[in-house]
Symmetry: C2
Subunit: 399 residues, 2 copies
Amino acid sequence: MIPVADARARILDAMCPTEAEVVALAEAWGRVTAAPLTARVTQPPHDVSAMDGYALRAAEGAAGAHLAVVGTAPAGHPWEGTLRAGEAVRLFTGSVMPDGADAVLLQEDAGEADGRVTVRETVVAGRHIRRAGQDFTAGDVLVPAGQRMTARDIGLAASGNLPWVAVRRRPRVAILATGDEIALPGEPIPPGGIVSSNAHALAALVRASGGDPVVLPIAPDDADAIGAAARTRADLLVTTGGASVGAHDLVQSALGRRGMALDFWKIAMRPGKPLMFGRLGEMPVLGLPGNPVSALVCAVLFLHPALARLSGLPDADPPVEPARLGAPLPANDHRADHLRARLTRDEAGRLVATAFERQDSAMLRLFAHADALILRPPHAPAAAEGDAVEILRLAPLGI
Amino acid sequence: MIPVADARARILDAMCPTEAEVVALAEAWGRVTAAPLTARVTQPPHDVSAMDGYALRAAEGAAGAHLAVVGTAPAGHPWEGTLRAGEAVRLFTGSVMPDGADAVLLQEDAGEADGRVTVRETVVAGRHIRRAGQDFTAGDVLVPAGQRMTARDIGLAASGNLPWVAVRRRPRVAILATGDEIALPGEPIPPGGIVSSNAHALAALVRASGGDPVVLPIAPDDADAIGAAARTRADLLVTTGGASVGAHDLVQSALGRRGMALDFWKIAMRPGKPLMFGRLGEMPVLGLPGNPVSALVCAVLFLHPALARLSGLPDADPPVEPARLGAPLPANDHRADHLRARLTRDEAGRLVATAFERQDSAMLRLFAHADALILRPPHAPAAAEGDAVEILRLAPLGI
């Protein structure tokens, strides 16, 4: 049995970021940049007014002065002349500053009548002017490579005049659920069988992690049926079931017969000890337990990071956060534990994590209602209410 | 000018959740349930073994006992008989408990040879047995209405045998950017003009908030062109630009001429004072400022919650979190401020928010690099390093 962190490191080492593809900026939200996005224009392209008002020469802008309004420059319609002594030009937010002007008289500090404007508050040279390139200059990196694009990044790329962006192809993850006892929802359930939840829960997790899931037909406990999955072309093959010890644990042997090179297959964790990792040629294979809670906890800890790495994100580790315990916990044994917990906040606004009374890994409903996992390292001593722990929030990940 | 919270309440009041539609469970991730999801089956459907081992009668399971192995019951292949005195049945995780058996002998506590099993550790009646219905019973609510489905919810619905789920239709949000000075990325830029970032940044935000964006062609500063947007059929029309005072602020008047009933149009906030809200017949209209940072901050505060409400989520307010200040802040004026800030964690793991030195609302790049907004209420007194503040994290929202 190897530690969780070692297992994750070995899995991540085997993940190669997908190749780049070009998508329209309008389709790039949530995608991971494959190269830095570099501005094609300078923003603002010229000195522009930050306010509605008048462009003038600062030297002529003392309170009480009168100037001739010689033009109007709405945004998008610059005034083409050069401002001369005694002149002002009507401006709006975003208007290009006319040549010769070095100050903006705010509209509320001005009185306009008969083609003349009266200065009511002395202007300050340069004030209320946004300088060319204040936001960025052509050639500046707007978004670095390896970043999942937010709505703000989309806006920034747009204002840098980038209609197309190079992003990593979404990782394609094939999912194979195995077992004679399982059926897909709505299909006939075999005697003593259950409805399979793993394939579609994992497909949703793949989607939540930025990948494209491919759900393979359920394979019965039959080496040929399972082995057929070896022909799949994907960035990662994920199996569920058949990874623990026992006569009916066929995934490892069925794929082994097709040439799978096993890396490891037991992790010192709970729930989810029987996790397998290997390679079928170029394709990494992650074998998750058949138990739905174990499969999903393992997927949070290993598959979500694997997808981050496949997507080209530099930091693939799960986003662990600090919290305080809402109730004491007993000492832990040699396996890292992942306790389903509810989150609240104390008066100081700090997160408080309280483990559910029941931690049965067969209770998917309890897990679905959990706000977070409390991460308990191997051999963690007993902990009291208020002690610091690390948690992993699930719903913010879409998981 | 009305306060931010009042403005949000008035906007949310005007939002009606979209109607329900049925989608395949495989497509339901991230969708909001329109009705409770109720289990169609009981899980587990029978008493099942939680471990690999042997089913037997507890009364016969004392250490040293020998029993005849009369059958094998892999998961999905129940043993059909009734266990009699002196008998045991080979079991695996998930196997149905045979009639007559009330205990499980763990594989590691058993020795099997010549069709007989030897008990090495005395069994406990009921231990390692998962009772029928332990996870849920047919008829139980698995996922309540008004919940954005996580990967766990998808798994839970699958195990409840639900191939289809009723979810709210994704809200359709039309986006109209206005201005003579703007062009879409890659298109010819007018003299003194800039590349428009608002339409696609807002479209990304709509997508991040679970909606379907419809980007309308850019409208020049022309009442007819802007007014044409009134013919749009959407759950919400969002405009940018033309919402502040000034000769070139046409959106309000252009849509007013088409019958828009104005609700309010100024909010005591920074950035983003000139926000407009009204209705064109049944369709709510949210008029955002033209400044890209102001438009996006307003969208975080008003459009993201509006989409939550349109999607049928009960709690639509932005997910504000507590943090401590990393640097002092001056007293605030009468407008709620939204300071672009970087987040770190202190030694105790608490979030520390440090406002950027520059808060210029024309600097989209700075905003894109911010981790959070610090929310400063109107008239907030000066605050010292370490003081508690409320923040709103952006990237976790996809914004």
